[in-house]
């Protein structure tokens, strides 16, 4: 076989004592040099997945394969993989240089070479001047970067990061996201990052693995995940999406036509060509792809506005249709002529040219 995946999880399951399922038959290929995020709600198994890769948890069933070699039973200290821990786990009895040099000293790197690499790693994360500092003297963001330097100085095949930015304030977090991305591409290293922050995952990942209840829901690029979520769960988790039950009413050339209550919806056929008349599907459509019209038209459905929320460039309207379905509609603010009010009846239609997606359960 030509280019193998760098790390492959094959049907990995992890059951904890007491019957809690941490991972449920996870298949995952991690490619060379990519920035992969594991995204999902609390308790979905992200950390467990990362710990299986690092070797802290042994899968109950399944295999972990690194560059073609089965490493399922390899202990953490024998794996060419390093972790940045959520609490940083810096050694409090060592200074910054000793922390960063810890891995090198175990690899019998000559002292002079160690010093050089430690200094280089600290320069890379912008802490060259803190080399003699004690861990207790560092701020949260600085500890984070020492932890990063300590891991990358070992030149791991894969760097694992468990919610590395969750303890930082919003401003620093955004800065560190860009730093992480910059480091990753300049080192050409493979990063696997756990996060429960979808914005973070969407902004820095090459691919995102969305997990739910120990299973993988979808693996896709940020854009594909946003535009074409595969399941109800992903659609509900990434951004805001209207989930509508709709009946297939026919095909019109390249378009599939659906009807959700009175609201006609259409999507391009290549998205899902298998549909039979009368079949029910869940359709996902983004708030910005719905239009609230003051007058009824050919392809509109009436809905009553329940609330209007200021949302920056848009006004977000929550409305309900005659059939009782809840709709979220984003209207660009300058286009709100005439202005709608809570209690008004508007006529909702799909924005011309906008598509929507069929979602699996």
């Amino acid at each position: 076989m030509p280019q193998d995946a760098l790390l492959r999880l094959e049907a990995v399951s992890k059951c904890f004592p007491g019957g809690v399922v941490g991972l449920d038959s996870v298949d995952l290929d991690i490619e060379h040099g990519e920035f992969l995020s594991l995204l999902g709600p609390s308790g979905c198994g992200k950390t467990t997945n990362l710990r299986v890769m690092a070797g802290f948890e042994t899968p109950t069933t399944g295999r972990v394969v690194l560059a073609g070699r089965d490493i399922t039973s390899l202990r953490p200290f024998d794996r060419p993989v390093n972790t940045v821990f959520q609490d940083y786990a810096l050694f409090p009895h060592m200074n910054v240089a000793e922390n960063v040099g810890f891995g090198l000293s175990l690899r019998r790197v000559p002292a002079a070479e160690q010093k050089k690499q430690v200094a280089a790693a600290l320069d890379m994360v912008g802490l060259g001047d803190k080399i003699r500092a004690r861990v207790a003297e560092l701020s949260g963001g600085q500890r984070q970067r020492v932890a990063l330097a300590r891991a990358i100085v070992c030149k791991p095949r894969i760097l694992l990061l468990d919610e590395p930015l969750s303890a930082l304030d919003a401003h620093l977090r955004e800065y560190m996201q860009m730093e992480l991305k910059r480091l990753q591409s300049s080192l050409g290293m493979t990063f696997v990052m756990v996060t429960h922050d979808q914005t973070e995952a969407l902004s820095i990942s090459d691919r995102i693995v969305v997990m739910n209840k120990g299973r993988i829901e979808q693996i896709a690029s940020p854009a594909a995940l946003y535009d074409r979520p595969a399941t109800r769960f992903v659609a509900g988790f990434i951004g805001t999406m209207n989930l509508l039950d709709a009946r297939f009413v026919g095909r019109d050339g390249a378009l599939l036509r659906y009807l959700s209550g009175d609201l006609p919806l259409e999507l391009s056929a290549d998205a899902n060509a298998l549909a039979t008349d009368g079949q029910m599907h869940t359709i996902g459509i983004r708030p910005e792809d719905l239009v609230a019209n003051p007058q009824a038209g050919a392809a509109t459905a009436p809905a009553k506005i329940n609330s209007i929320v200021f949302h920056g460039r848009a006004l977000r309207m929550h409305a309900s249709t005659a059939g009782g379905a809840a709709l979220v509609i984003d209207a660009p603010r300058q286009a709100m002529q005439p202005a709608f009010d809570v209690g008004d009846i508007v006529h909702v239609s799909q924005r011309p040219g906008a598509s929507c997606v069929i979602l699996a359960a």
Partner: protein
């Protein structure tokens, strides 16, 4: 709310300390507080070589007790912190169980174990390892060390256990993650971070054992007379309270010196706190 209690305790300790120092400078005339002032008691302490040899023996025995206690307590504390799982509570309870019986009773128990016709001798003779009982167990410094080490074991186990238990588990995982095998992790991460607990355990054992006189009297025999026995004799049979007070003050100074030396070296090696 705590202030009055603290003040009373503090005053009582200060009062008794001051009394000892005061007595140490008095001339012994048989009366309760002596008469007149002198430095003679201290010159007696310093210039009698017997005091030096007994003091050194006390330090040596206390040092052995401390080493034996800490070394045997560490594995117990380690097991409690890392491997006891759900039985942790039960084992902690068992560790403190000896406190439920009197200290004297536990010393006598060791007498029964170590005596000529005691448990150990009977077992050795019964199993054919010895042809006849030996006198080599009881009334030796070793008997003192064994008895004291046993008595102080819980005092050593608890601080070491707390130190080990409060080491974040992610530190141990981080060490493994960076390539450290279990022994290296122990040596370079667990042990340095447990040192404050080990030091606390050592002090808690060392300080009271230096001045102990009950145990040497009961299981030590003549070859293990400790400084505490001599002080006790001055306040008892010899009825020379000022000299006893001077001895006590000297012992306190020696212990203080040892503690200070240990603490500075400990700080040099950079413990956590």
């Amino acid at each position: 709310m705590m202030a009055p209690g603290t003040a009373i305790t503090f005053l009582l300790i200060l009062f008794s300390l001051a009394l000892v120092v005061f007595l140490a400078f008095r001339v012994n005339d048989g009366s309760l507080l002596g008469a007149g002032f002198t430095l003679g008691n201290f010159s007696n302490v310093i210039f009698d070589p017997l005091n030096w040899s007994v003091m050194l023996r006390s330090l040596a025995i206390a040092g052995c007790v401390t080493a034996a206690t800490v070394i045997t307590a560490f594995p117990v504390a380690y097991f409690l912190a890392f491997h006891a799982g759900r039985r942790r509570g039960l084992i902690l309870f068992l560790v403190t169980l000896p406190f439920w019986t009197s200290y004297l009773l536990r010393v006598f128990a060791w007498k029964i174990v170590l005596a000529y016709n005691g448990v150990l001798n009977s077992a050795l003779v019964g199993s054919g390892l010895l042809s006849e009982p030996t006198l080599a167990f009881l009334n030796t410094p070793t008997a003192v060390v064994v008895t004291l080490a046993h008595a102080y074991a819980p005092f050593a186990i608890l601080p070491i256990y707390v130190a080990l238990d409060t080491i974040p588990r992610s530190l141990i995982e981080a060490a493994a993650d960076l390539g450290a095998r279990p022994w290296t992790t122990f040596r370079r991460v667990i042990l340095p971070n447990a040192m404050p607990g080990v030091m606390a355990a050592a002090l808690v054992v060392f300080v009271p054992t230096v001045g102990d006189y009950v145990t040497p009297a009961l299981v030590g025999g003549p070859s293990s007379t400790m400084i505490g026995s001599m002080i006790q004799a001055q306040f008892g049979k010899a009825n020379d309270w000022p000299f006893g007070a001077a001895l006590s003050a000297a012992v306190m100074l020696v212990i203080l010196t040892v503690v200070l030396i240990v603490r500075t070296t400990d700080a040099r090696f950079g413990s956590r706190a």
